[in-house]
Amino acid sequence: MFQKEFSETLIELIESVRPPTETGLIVTEAEIDVPLEISSVVQKDKLVFLGNVPHSRWKSGFLPKVTLGHIRVVLEED
């Protein structure tokens, strides 16, 4: 199923900015503009927010609305 909780998509997006360890690079800040398919469902009497990147790049008449999300990720310093 292409629908999943928005938090899962966000974690994957944030982790995607982490460069491979062997490169020796550190990304300190990243801004991501990403199209998202947003929807919501009621699970166990609670509203759950779903969000994923577009599941298809083909145009059709049954695709959910795509909204634009802007995400800013920063390196956490302890």
Binding site: E5, F6, S7, L10, I11, I14, E15, V17, R18, I26, E29, L36, I38, S39, S40, V42, D45, K46, L47, V48, F49, G51, G61, F62, L63, P64, K65, T67, L68, G69, H70, I71, R72, V73, V74, L75, E76, D78
Partner: protein
Amino acid sequence: MSSEGSFLVEDFINAITTQLDRVQDALRLKAVNRPLTYALKDISLDLHVFVEVDVQGNVRFRSSGPNEVGASTINLGFTTITRPMIEENTVSLAMSRSPNLDEIGLGDDERKRLEQLGVRNAAQLQKLGQSTSTTSVARLTGIPVDRLKNALSLGKPSVTQVSPVHPPVKPPPIKTPVPFVPPKVQPQPPPVVQPRTPVLQPQTPVMQPVQRTKSEISHPIKIAPGTKKLNLFGNNLVGGDGVPQVKLNNQTLNISDADEDVLVVEMPDAPESGALEVTLTDGQTVLYQLSFEDEEVQFESENFSDSENREDFFSRDLWQPE
């Protein structure tokens, strides 16, 4: 919650916030095993929704479906804020613990009208009433003054009972039973009753001095010596301005636990009898005259002769001629 696919705005926002909290929690957990971790600083979303207003006047959102045109675009932005910013921009926890508007007898329509003025509980209603006046609130909301006054009186803080916190009871030591020896009864002649002529002697009734404060009369309370803590039972004790202030002989006492219906007050190391003053969150002061039980025993021994015990003294009608 859901009405034909539409949701209350606050449910909608809460659902997004829950997802963002999960992201932060997951990233925090990852930081345990990784030297570097990332945090989600800001996020903004352009949501395509249909905005509806239900019969109760609640604004609801419905997500736009495929091929639906005419949806509104809501731009929601979320950012991380610090603890001082949270404290500055949110209602205090003490304020949120106050009874809800329906708990103080207000109906749905009245509740909604007050919510439009930012009043969601009794403490906020009290605060608004104090800063303006009940009449102003009644005029703005269209709720009758007597309804508001009644609701305010139900949400008012009050102390109903003061009692010592008893330490855990230790099991009594096991004693060897003492054999019962019946007392020896010696027959006595019946008492001779001599008629007395009543002499009228007007007596001055004994009056305890009554201390009055701004609003309350002092109530006597007696506790056992060595009492470490006192329970103050009541209603709506924790209000918008925090917890009540408790003083014994003008010395502020520490409050170890505070809840809506009970305060636990720590007694000083060497407490003395005197005025126990409770200043409630609405400014009302309740006075208690605190004394210790051993002082009562001393009082008895000093003021009553051997032939006259305290019980007889108090059961006697002071105005009856002797």
